[in-house]
């Protein structure tokens, strides 16, 4: 008892020390306890803080979904838009005022389903926006339907016999669309998210973060914490992030390797 009390006190002190409350909005996240999105939230907050970005010069743009609620929980300017349209709106924000750091956030339904037509174009235009795709392979806010990244056979109330549609590979898509910075990460490792984001935010051009997460409420079969912890692993040491072909091979062959897949050198 005594030990755990001390551990808790230490953690509280660490949190206070981290100045996290100057970054977080006073609105508490509405996500379910245990949701992977808390880890992504922490990873992004820490990256903003590490880079010392002034909050009033940061804009967070989202669509609809659990991830879409993100801007309310961030201590930045926020745009919670309609379903699937975060990327074009973020494009307008960035071009209107290039001084702003612009983040687009959204889930796999928002970004690969209804909004799937926008990713190729922001990538090929190389707009300097940082996009975080929260991929838990399920529609959570509508209480658990299969998403474009759900595996074949995924059973939900909307797919009682299991889905038959093949899942999309968002990392491979971003690479083939010409995104100039592509990373794949895991909500269970906020430090790695921060580290990669710090690099991606400074990248002059579009940066894409494919982040695996859980839906603890509606997905008990696929991307559970246990499964993800078991499945994910770093990219091989030999991976060369300046080699697009190698990045695509890697994305094609191993869907659970994590790290910075590709980074185009900029002048």
């Amino acid at each position: 008892m005594k030990t755990s009390g001390r551990v808790l006190a230490e953690k509280v002190a660490k949190i206070k020390d981290s100045k996290i409350f100057s970054i977080r909005s006073s609105n508490l996240p509405t996500w379910c306890p245990g949701c992977g999105y808390f880890g992504i939230h922490q990873g992004l907050n820490n990256a903003i803080q590490q880079l010392g970005l002034p909050h009033h010069e940061v804009v967070t743009v989202s669509g609809i979904g659990c991830a879409g609620r993100y801007p309310f929980f961030a201590h930045t300017y926020g745009l919670h838009t309609v379903h699937g349209r975060a990327l074009p709106v973020a494009t307008g924000v960035k071009l209107a005022n290039p001084r702003l750091a612009v983040f687009a956030v959204g889930g796999d339904g928002d970004g690969l389903g209804i909004g799937g037509g926008h990713l190729p174009h922001i990538a090929r235009r190389d707009i300097d926006v940082t996009y975080l795709l929260f991929d838990n392979s399920i529609y959570g806010l509508t209480k658990g339907q299969p998403s474009p990244s759900s595996p074949v056979g995924f059973k939900t109330k909307a797919s009682p016999h299991g889905t038959t549609d093949a899942p999309l590979n968002a990392t491979l898509m971003a690479l083939s669309y010409g995104a100039t910075f592509v990373a794949r990460l895991f909500a269970g490792d906020p430090e790695a998210i921060t580290e990669a984001l710090v690099e991606g935010i400074q990248h002059k051009g579009f940066s894409f973060f494919h982040i695996y997460s859980t839906c603890v409420t509606f997905d008990k079969q696929f991307k559970t914490w246990d499964h993800l912890h078991e499945w994910v692993h770093p990219l091989p040491d030999s991976h060369d992030p300046t080699n697009l072909k190698q990045a695509m091979d890697e994305a094609l062959e191993d869907q659970f390797s994590l790290g910075i897949f590709y980074r185009q050198r900029k002048e």
């Binding site: 804009v59 801007p71 745009l79 919670h80 074009p88 709106v89 494009t91 209107a96 005022n97 037509g117």
Partner: protein
């Protein structure tokens, strides 16, 4: 000074240089001091093989509409021009090539198909051009020369315009074209019987070589946006709005702005909203099918209180409809389209000058009222050319319309504060201490989701209060009448208004007490002014280019009895003659 009201048509096959000749004719006549309105039609299909017709109405005062009859037909290809014969006015004049190539069959010459009242002026276009320049390519200019010679028009303005147009191609090309023109001019002066019935020399306007410019509605919109300080344009190609994008693609970067051709209309309006959110003036232009795709985000702009400027160049609908034909059938969609009670501002210019002026104004209004503004035009208005005094935006019209929060409110800012006017001061990213999140969910004054029953009532009321208040900044209806009580009052919008006014003026000349009311603010509309006008009218006639009578549906309830609808969906501009007929029958 004699009254001039001439409609001149040039008709040919694609490849004859019909559209080019029409452009030169318009420019030269404008330069010579005439007022004009012109409208071309050419094949919709890309293969580019078909009939081309240019139509110019020329006069000594501002032209309100096209005329239904043609006084002068210049035929560059008789087989095509035969289709224009039914539209010839009595005593019309027809110029045609009387030595066409041998493959034109006997009997296919236009000369065999016109009535005895028509003056036929045969001019060997090809022969003359070939003799003057060695090729027959400039025969369209030879035809123009013959027209100028026969009608005693001074060649000066034509020479000047030809030089200006062909200058980039070098002196040799300029001279060849001038020679082609002169060959026709000289032939007409020497060989044509200019006393023949049907020839009526055009009086030359004295003095005042004008500084009027030829502008289409689309060009006027693009220039208006530029003068208003447009920073970003996002669009997707669609007829008839594309020329706006093409004009800006060249002009906007020259002014330090940027144009992005987006992947669809949804992303176009999305980026416009993002840009205005971040404080940058942006615009998109589309037509009905694109407007419908934008609808959800337009209502997002209404709910989240973000400005936007959207041009909707209407064409025939529904669905893909009639892409190259004119119609006014997006009014319902523009005013009411989308989920929920999403009142937004809709304005509709009636002529080229207003296309410019209302585009300029729309930016300020969108900013001030923090809401999307839709500017409704139509195919005819977009593509017709008028020579107008070069419009210029006055500084008051282009000032930043944003209402910013008071600096003293730093750190206790309520973005969606319910003020009396409904306008809540808006911060822009970059302002310290004024962070907020905007959302399409119903929200509280600080902008967090709030579905409480009372809150939705209060916030809906705030947003609608704002739109009602915008009426103060929107152009009021304008009456054209001798005042007092009227037998027939005609209310019209968009390009149909010109036809309505022309019809009303003709009715007045026939002794009918008629009046016209121009409505340019479609939503919100000035109900009091419209009601007052209606109260003085025995009958209200609303002509419009749609099947459902969309303006009549919107404002008809303001009249004490049923309004008279005159709905047409032929794809053509509204003929003034049909409105006049209806006025006459109502006045009986």
């Amino acid at each position: 000074m004699p009254e001039v009201d001439l409609t001149i048509e040039i008709c040919g096959m694609s490849g004859d240089g019909t559209i080019a000749a029409g452009g030169l004719l318009n420019a030269a006549l404008s330069k010579a001091g005439f007022f004009l309105m012109a409208f071309d039609s050419y094949p919709a299909e890309i293969r580019g093989f078909g009939r081309c017709v240019t139509r110019s109405r020329v006069g000594m005062e501002e032209m309100l509409a096209l005329a239904s009859e043609t006084h002068v037909l210049i035929s560059l290809d008789d087989e095509q021009s035969l289709s224009r014969v039914p539209f010839l006015a009595k005593n019309a004049t027809v110029f045609f090539d009387n030595r066409p190539p041998s493959f034109v069959e006997e009997g296919r010459s236009i000369a065999a198909h016109v009535g005895p009242d028509v003056t036929l002026l045969g001019v060997p276009f090809r022969d003359l051009t070939a003799r003057a320049t060695g090729t027959t390519r400039g025969r369209n200019l030879t035809a123009l020369g013959a027209f100028a010679g026969a009608f005693d028009l001074p060649p000066g303005p034509f020479h000047e315009i030809i030089r200006k147009k062909f200058d980039p191609k070098g002196e040799k090309v300029v001279l060849a074209n001038i020679k082609s023109f002169d060959a026709g001019l000289q032939y007409a002066r020497e060989k044509l019987d200019r006393s023949a019935k049907g020839i009526f020399p055009v009086p030359q306007k004295t003095g005042e070589e004008t500084d009027r410019v030829l502008l289409s509605g689309n060009t006027a919109i693009a220039r208006g946006a530029l003068d208003a300080g447009l920073k970003l344009y996002f669009g997707y190609p669609i007829t008839p709005a594309t020329p706006i994008m093409e004009y800006l693609a060249k002009a906007l970067p020259e002014k330090g702005g940027r144009l992005l051709q987006m992947e669809d209309e949804i992303s176009s309006i999305g980026a416009v909203l993002g840009s205005f959110y971040a404080g940058g003036r942006a615009m998109t232009a589309t037509s009905g099918p694109g407007l419908s795709l934008m609808t959800e985000l337009i209502t997002h702009g209404v709910m989240a209180e973000i400005p936007a400027v959207i041009i909707d160049a209407q064409r025939g609908g529904p669905a893909t409809g009639l892409p190259t034909k004119t119609e006014q059938s997006d009014l319902h969609a523009a005013v009411f389209g989308g989920p929920g009670d999403s009142a937004r501002i809709v304005i509709a210019p009636t002529n080229v000058s207003e296309c410019y002026g209302y585009t300029v104004k729309s930016f300020q209004i969108a900013e001030k009222y923090q809401t999307p503004v839709i500017v409704l035009t139509d195919f005819f208005l977009d593509n017709r050319v008028e020579n107008v005094g070069m419009p210029r935006a006055v500084p008051e019209e282009i000032f930043d319309g944003n209402v910013y929060p008071d600096p003293s409110l730093k750190d206790r800012y309520r973005r969606f504060e319910r003020t009396e006017s409904g306008i809540s001061p808006r911060s822009i990213p970059g302002m310290e201490g004024f962070l907020f999140t905007t959302t399409g969910l119903e929200h509280s004054e600080i902008g967090v989701p709030d579905y409480a029953p009372q809150n939705h009532m209060l916030m809906s009321d705030k947003r609608h209060r704002k739109i009602t208040g915008a009426m103060a900044d929107l152009p009021a209806p304008r009456e054209f009448s001798k005042g007092g009580s009227l037998k027939v009052g005609v209310i019209a919008w968009g390009s149909t208004f010109g036809s309505a006014l022309e019809a009303v003026r003709k009715a007045e000349k026939k002794g009918i007490r008629a009046g016209a009311l121009k409505i340019t603010s479609i939503f919100p509309y000035h109900a009091d002014i419209i009601r007052e006008f209606m109260a003085r009218c025995g009958e209200i006639l609303i002509p419009e280019l749609n099947y459902e009578g969309q303006l009549a549906n919107l404002i008809g309830h303001l009249f004490r009895k049923e309004v008279q609808r005159l709905d047409r969906v032929t794809g053509e501009p509204f003929p003034a003659s049909i409105i006049l007929e209806k006025i006459e029958s109502l006045a009986k």
